[in-house]
Protein backbone atom coordinates (compact mmCIF):
# COMPACT_ATOMS: atom_id res chain seq x y z
CA UNK A 1 0.00 0.00 0.00
CA UNK A 2 1.18 3.48 -0.67
CA UNK A 3 2.08 5.63 2.31
CA UNK A 4 -0.38 8.36 1.36
CA UNK A 5 -3.28 5.92 1.22
CA UNK A 6 -2.29 4.34 4.53
CA UNK A 7 -2.20 7.79 6.11
CA UNK A 8 -5.73 8.56 4.91
CA UNK A 9 -7.05 5.24 6.25
CA UNK A 10 -5.29 5.74 9.58
CA UNK A 11 -6.66 9.26 9.97
CA UNK A 12 -10.15 7.99 9.21
CA UNK A 13 -9.83 5.24 11.79
CA UNK A 14 -8.58 7.71 14.40
CA UNK A 15 -11.60 9.95 13.78
CA UNK A 16 -13.90 7.11 14.93
CA UNK A 17 -13.00 8.24 18.46
CA UNK A 18 -15.46 11.11 17.96
CA UNK A 19 -18.32 8.61 18.08
CA UNK A 20 -17.59 8.09 21.75
CA UNK A 21 -17.69 11.83 22.36
CA UNK A 22 -21.11 11.97 20.69
CA UNK A 23 -22.44 9.21 22.92
CA UNK A 24 -20.97 10.87 26.01
CA UNK A 25 -22.44 14.28 25.27
CA UNK A 26 -25.81 12.69 24.56
CA UNK A 27 -25.76 10.85 27.88
CA UNK A 28 -24.78 13.97 29.80
CA UNK A 29 -27.48 16.20 28.31
CA UNK A 30 -30.12 13.46 28.39
CA UNK A 31 -29.52 12.68 32.03
CA UNK A 32 -29.40 16.34 32.95
CA UNK A 33 -32.72 16.89 31.22
CA UNK A 34 -34.41 13.94 32.87
CA UNK A 35 -33.04 15.01 36.25
CA UNK A 36 -34.17 18.59 35.64
CA UNK A 37 -37.67 17.41 34.70
CA UNK A 38 -37.97 15.48 37.93
CA UNK A 39 -36.66 18.24 40.14
CA UNK A 40 -36.69 21.59 38.34
CA UNK A 41 -35.69 23.54 41.45
CA UNK A 42 -32.33 21.74 41.65
CA UNK A 43 -31.60 22.12 37.94
CA UNK A 44 -30.13 25.61 38.00
CA UNK A 45 -27.57 24.67 40.63
CA UNK A 46 -26.20 21.80 38.56
CA UNK A 47 -25.84 23.79 35.35
CA UNK A 48 -22.09 24.48 35.84
CA UNK A 49 -21.55 20.77 36.36
CA UNK A 50 -23.42 20.11 33.11
CA UNK A 51 -21.13 22.44 31.21
CA UNK A 52 -18.07 20.92 32.85
CA UNK A 53 -19.19 17.41 31.93
CA UNK A 54 -19.97 18.49 28.38
CA UNK A 55 -16.53 20.01 27.92
CA UNK A 56 -14.75 17.02 29.45
CA UNK A 57 -16.66 14.53 27.31
CA UNK A 58 -16.11 16.53 24.15
CA UNK A 59 -12.40 16.80 24.82
CA UNK A 60 -11.85 13.04 24.96
CA UNK A 61 -13.24 12.71 21.46
CA UNK A 62 -11.11 15.58 20.26
CA UNK A 63 -7.98 13.76 21.46
CA UNK A 64 -8.76 11.22 18.74
CA UNK A 65 -9.21 14.01 16.21
CA UNK A 66 -5.80 15.40 17.18
CA UNK A 67 -4.28 11.99 16.47
CA UNK A 68 -5.98 12.01 13.06
CA UNK A 69 -4.62 15.47 12.26
CA UNK A 70 -1.13 14.51 13.46
CA UNK A 71 -1.20 11.48 11.14
CA UNK A 72 -2.35 13.61 8.22
CA UNK A 73 -0.16 16.66 8.62
CA UNK A 74 2.77 15.96 10.95
CA UNK A 75 4.31 12.85 9.37
Amino acid sequence: MELEAAKMIGAGLAAIALAGAGVGIGIIFGNYLSGAMRNPSAAQKQFPNLLLGFALAEATGLFGLVIALIILFAF
Binding site: P48, L51, L52, F54, A55, L56, E58, A59, L62, F63, L65, V66, L69, F73
Partner: protein, 244 residues
Amino acid sequence: MATNPMQQFSVHKIGPEIKIAGIDLSFTNASLFMVISAASIALFLFLGTKEKRIIPDKIQLISEMLYSFVAKMISDTAGSKAKPYFPFIFSLFMFVLLCNMIGMLPYAFTVTSHIIVTLILALFIFIAVTVIGFMKHGFKYLSIFVPSGVPKVLLPLITVIEIISYLSRPVSLSVRLFANMMAGHTMLKVFGGFVISLGILGGWLPLGFSVALTGLEILVAFLQAYVFAILTCIYLNDALNLHH
Protein backbone atom coordinates in the same frame (compact mmCIF):
# COMPACT_ATOMS: atom_id res chain seq x y z
CA MET B 1 -5.64 32.55 -1.30
CA ALA B 2 -5.69 30.02 1.51
CA THR B 3 -7.02 26.77 0.15
CA ASN B 4 -5.83 24.58 3.00
CA PRO B 5 -7.96 24.67 6.18
CA MET B 6 -4.74 24.44 8.21
CA GLN B 7 -3.35 27.60 6.61
CA GLN B 8 -4.97 29.77 9.28
CA PHE B 9 -2.68 28.33 11.97
CA SER B 10 0.58 29.31 10.29
CA VAL B 11 2.83 31.55 12.35
CA HIS B 12 4.78 34.17 10.44
CA LYS B 13 7.09 37.00 11.36
CA ILE B 14 5.97 40.59 11.61
CA GLY B 15 8.80 43.06 11.41
CA PRO B 16 12.52 42.38 11.74
CA GLU B 17 14.11 39.13 12.78
CA ILE B 18 15.45 39.15 16.34
CA LYS B 19 17.86 36.42 17.36
CA ILE B 20 19.29 36.22 20.87
CA ALA B 21 21.80 33.44 21.60
CA GLY B 22 20.56 31.34 18.70
CA ILE B 23 16.93 31.50 19.81
CA ASP B 24 14.47 33.08 17.40
CA LEU B 25 12.61 35.76 19.35
CA SER B 26 11.03 37.57 16.39
CA PHE B 27 7.68 39.25 16.80
CA THR B 28 5.09 37.04 15.10
CA ASN B 29 1.37 37.25 14.48
CA ALA B 30 0.90 34.95 17.51
CA SER B 31 2.68 37.41 19.77
CA LEU B 32 0.72 40.28 18.21
CA PHE B 33 -2.60 38.67 19.11
CA MET B 34 -1.37 37.83 22.61
CA VAL B 35 -0.49 41.50 23.06
CA ILE B 36 -3.90 42.50 21.69
CA SER B 37 -5.74 40.23 24.13
CA ALA B 38 -3.69 41.30 27.13
CA ALA B 39 -4.03 44.97 26.20
CA SER B 40 -7.79 44.73 25.68
CA ILE B 41 -8.23 43.04 29.07
CA ALA B 42 -6.19 45.77 30.75
CA LEU B 43 -8.01 48.55 28.92
CA PHE B 44 -11.44 47.06 29.59
CA LEU B 45 -10.86 46.59 33.30
CA PHE B 46 -9.24 50.02 33.58
CA LEU B 47 -12.29 51.67 32.01
CA GLY B 48 -14.59 49.50 34.11
CA THR B 49 -13.05 50.47 37.40
CA LYS B 50 -12.13 54.10 36.64
CA GLU B 51 -15.30 55.63 38.04
CA LYS B 52 -16.60 53.63 40.94
CA ARG B 53 -20.28 54.50 40.81
CA ILE B 54 -22.94 53.14 43.11
CA ILE B 55 -25.25 52.66 40.13
CA PRO B 56 -22.82 51.13 37.62
CA ASP B 57 -22.81 51.86 33.91
CA LYS B 58 -22.55 49.04 31.39
CA ILE B 59 -18.80 48.59 31.33
CA GLN B 60 -18.51 48.69 35.11
CA LEU B 61 -21.38 46.22 35.38
CA ILE B 62 -19.61 43.75 33.08
CA SER B 63 -16.35 44.08 35.03
CA GLU B 64 -18.18 43.48 38.29
CA MET B 65 -19.96 40.47 36.80
CA LEU B 66 -16.66 38.98 35.64
CA TYR B 67 -15.16 39.56 39.07
CA SER B 68 -18.04 37.97 40.96
CA PHE B 69 -18.25 35.11 38.46
CA VAL B 70 -14.61 34.11 39.02
CA ALA B 71 -14.79 34.80 42.77
CA LYS B 72 -17.84 32.54 43.09
CA MET B 73 -16.21 29.84 40.98
CA ILE B 74 -13.13 29.83 43.25
CA SER B 75 -15.07 29.82 46.52
CA ASP B 76 -17.42 27.08 45.27
CA THR B 77 -14.70 24.70 44.10
CA ALA B 78 -11.62 25.46 46.19
CA GLY B 79 -13.02 27.00 49.38
CA SER B 80 -11.98 30.12 51.24
CA LYS B 81 -8.32 29.07 51.44
CA ALA B 82 -7.95 29.70 47.71
CA LYS B 83 -8.79 33.41 48.04
CA PRO B 84 -5.14 34.54 47.71
CA TYR B 85 -4.93 32.87 44.30
CA PHE B 86 -7.83 34.89 42.90
CA PRO B 87 -5.65 37.29 40.84
CA PHE B 88 -3.87 34.42 39.13
CA ILE B 89 -7.02 32.52 38.25
CA PHE B 90 -8.81 35.69 37.17
CA SER B 91 -6.01 36.67 34.80
CA LEU B 92 -5.75 33.10 33.52
CA PHE B 93 -9.49 32.96 32.82
CA MET B 94 -9.54 36.38 31.17
CA PHE B 95 -6.50 35.68 29.03
CA VAL B 96 -7.79 32.34 27.73
CA LEU B 97 -11.28 33.78 27.21
CA LEU B 98 -10.03 36.81 25.30
CA CYS B 99 -7.63 34.73 23.19
CA ASN B 100 -10.48 32.38 22.26
CA MET B 101 -12.93 35.20 21.57
CA ILE B 102 -10.53 37.34 19.53
CA GLY B 103 -9.75 34.21 17.52
CA MET B 104 -13.42 34.06 16.51
CA LEU B 105 -13.13 37.35 14.59
CA PRO B 106 -12.59 36.89 10.85
CA TYR B 107 -8.92 37.01 9.76
CA ALA B 108 -7.82 36.88 13.39
CA PHE B 109 -5.28 34.41 14.70
CA THR B 110 -6.24 32.10 17.55
CA VAL B 111 -3.36 31.99 20.00
CA THR B 112 -4.83 29.11 21.99
CA SER B 113 -5.00 26.86 18.92
CA HIS B 114 -1.27 26.25 19.32
CA ILE B 115 -0.24 23.47 21.67
CA ILE B 116 2.87 25.30 22.85
CA VAL B 117 0.86 28.20 24.29
CA THR B 118 -1.60 26.00 26.16
CA LEU B 119 1.14 23.60 27.26
CA ILE B 120 3.14 26.41 28.84
CA LEU B 121 0.04 27.66 30.68
CA ALA B 122 -0.80 24.14 31.87
CA LEU B 123 2.78 23.35 32.93
CA PHE B 124 2.90 26.61 34.87
CA ILE B 125 -0.30 25.65 36.70
CA PHE B 126 0.94 22.10 37.32
CA ILE B 127 4.29 23.17 38.75
CA ALA B 128 2.71 25.96 40.79
CA VAL B 129 0.10 23.64 42.29
CA THR B 130 2.73 21.04 43.14
CA VAL B 131 4.96 23.65 44.80
CA ILE B 132 2.00 25.07 46.75
CA GLY B 133 1.03 21.59 47.90
CA PHE B 134 4.53 20.80 49.16
CA MET B 135 4.86 24.23 50.80
CA LYS B 136 1.57 23.89 52.69
CA HIS B 137 1.82 20.25 53.73
CA GLY B 138 5.44 19.18 53.35
CA PHE B 139 5.92 15.52 52.56
CA LYS B 140 2.37 14.80 53.74
CA TYR B 141 1.32 16.15 50.33
CA LEU B 142 2.36 12.78 48.85
CA SER B 143 -0.69 11.29 50.57
CA ILE B 144 -2.89 12.54 47.72
CA PHE B 145 -1.57 9.53 45.83
CA VAL B 146 -2.98 7.21 48.50
CA PRO B 147 -6.75 7.57 48.68
CA SER B 148 -8.35 6.56 51.96
CA GLY B 149 -10.87 3.76 52.25
CA VAL B 150 -9.35 1.55 49.57
CA PRO B 151 -8.85 -2.19 50.29
CA LYS B 152 -5.19 -3.03 51.06
CA VAL B 153 -4.95 -5.43 48.12
CA LEU B 154 -5.82 -2.72 45.61
CA LEU B 155 -3.67 -0.01 47.17
CA PRO B 156 -0.44 -0.46 45.10
CA LEU B 157 -2.43 -0.46 41.87
CA ILE B 158 -4.52 2.58 42.86
CA THR B 159 -1.41 4.50 43.89
CA VAL B 160 0.22 3.90 40.51
CA ILE B 161 -2.96 4.99 38.75
CA GLU B 162 -3.16 8.12 40.91
CA ILE B 163 0.44 9.04 40.13
CA ILE B 164 -0.14 8.59 36.40
CA SER B 165 -3.33 10.63 36.50
CA TYR B 166 -1.54 13.37 38.45
CA LEU B 167 1.31 13.49 35.95
CA SER B 168 -1.04 13.54 32.97
CA ARG B 169 -2.82 16.65 34.25
CA PRO B 170 -0.80 19.20 32.24
CA VAL B 171 -1.14 17.09 29.09
CA SER B 172 -4.91 16.71 29.35
CA LEU B 173 -5.40 20.34 30.40
CA SER B 174 -3.41 21.70 27.47
CA VAL B 175 -4.58 19.25 24.82
CA ARG B 176 -8.23 19.84 25.74
CA LEU B 177 -8.05 23.57 25.07
CA PHE B 178 -5.80 23.25 22.03
CA ALA B 179 -7.85 20.46 20.42
CA ASN B 180 -11.15 22.25 20.94
CA MET B 181 -9.93 25.48 19.42
CA MET B 182 -8.08 23.86 16.54
CA ALA B 183 -10.87 21.44 15.65
CA GLY B 184 -13.48 24.19 15.76
CA HIS B 185 -11.55 26.56 13.56
CA THR B 186 -10.65 23.82 11.07
CA MET B 187 -14.31 22.83 10.89
CA LEU B 188 -15.36 26.44 10.22
CA LYS B 189 -12.85 26.74 7.39
CA VAL B 190 -13.87 23.37 5.88
CA PHE B 191 -17.50 24.44 5.79
CA GLY B 192 -16.44 27.78 4.36
CA GLY B 193 -14.68 25.87 1.60
CA PHE B 194 -17.89 23.92 0.86
CA VAL B 195 -19.76 27.20 0.35
CA ILE B 196 -17.30 28.22 -2.38
CA SER B 197 -17.08 24.83 -4.06
CA LEU B 198 -20.86 24.24 -4.19
CA GLY B 199 -21.47 27.65 -5.75
CA ILE B 200 -24.56 29.86 -5.72
CA LEU B 201 -27.06 26.97 -5.96
CA GLY B 202 -25.90 24.46 -3.35
CA GLY B 203 -23.83 26.75 -1.20
CA TRP B 204 -26.65 27.94 1.03
CA LEU B 205 -26.82 24.77 3.10
CA PRO B 206 -23.15 24.82 4.26
CA LEU B 207 -23.52 28.59 4.76
CA GLY B 208 -26.33 27.95 7.22
CA PHE B 209 -24.23 25.31 8.92
CA SER B 210 -21.36 27.77 9.08
CA VAL B 211 -23.54 30.33 10.88
CA ALA B 212 -24.73 27.70 13.38
CA LEU B 213 -21.19 26.46 13.92
CA THR B 214 -19.98 29.99 14.60
CA GLY B 215 -22.54 30.19 17.39
CA LEU B 216 -21.39 26.85 18.73
CA GLU B 217 -17.76 27.94 18.55
CA ILE B 218 -18.46 31.08 20.58
CA LEU B 219 -20.08 28.84 23.20
CA VAL B 220 -17.07 26.51 23.11
CA ALA B 221 -14.67 29.45 23.36
CA PHE B 222 -16.33 30.57 26.58
CA LEU B 223 -16.76 27.03 27.87
CA GLN B 224 -13.15 26.05 27.39
CA ALA B 225 -11.92 29.14 29.21
CA TYR B 226 -14.35 28.26 32.02
CA VAL B 227 -13.22 24.64 32.11
CA PHE B 228 -9.57 25.66 32.09
CA ALA B 229 -10.13 27.95 35.06
CA ILE B 230 -12.35 25.56 37.00
CA LEU B 231 -9.91 22.67 36.57
CA THR B 232 -7.17 24.95 37.89
CA CYS B 233 -9.41 25.59 40.90
CA ILE B 234 -9.97 21.85 41.37
CA TYR B 235 -6.23 21.15 41.25
CA LEU B 236 -5.66 23.99 43.70
CA ASN B 237 -8.32 22.52 45.96
CA ASP B 238 -6.45 19.19 45.96
CA ALA B 239 -3.27 20.96 46.99
CA LEU B 240 -4.83 23.24 49.66
CA ASN B 241 -7.39 20.98 51.33
CA LEU B 242 -5.66 17.68 51.80
CA HIS B 243 -8.33 15.04 52.25
CA HIS B 244 -8.89 12.77 49.34
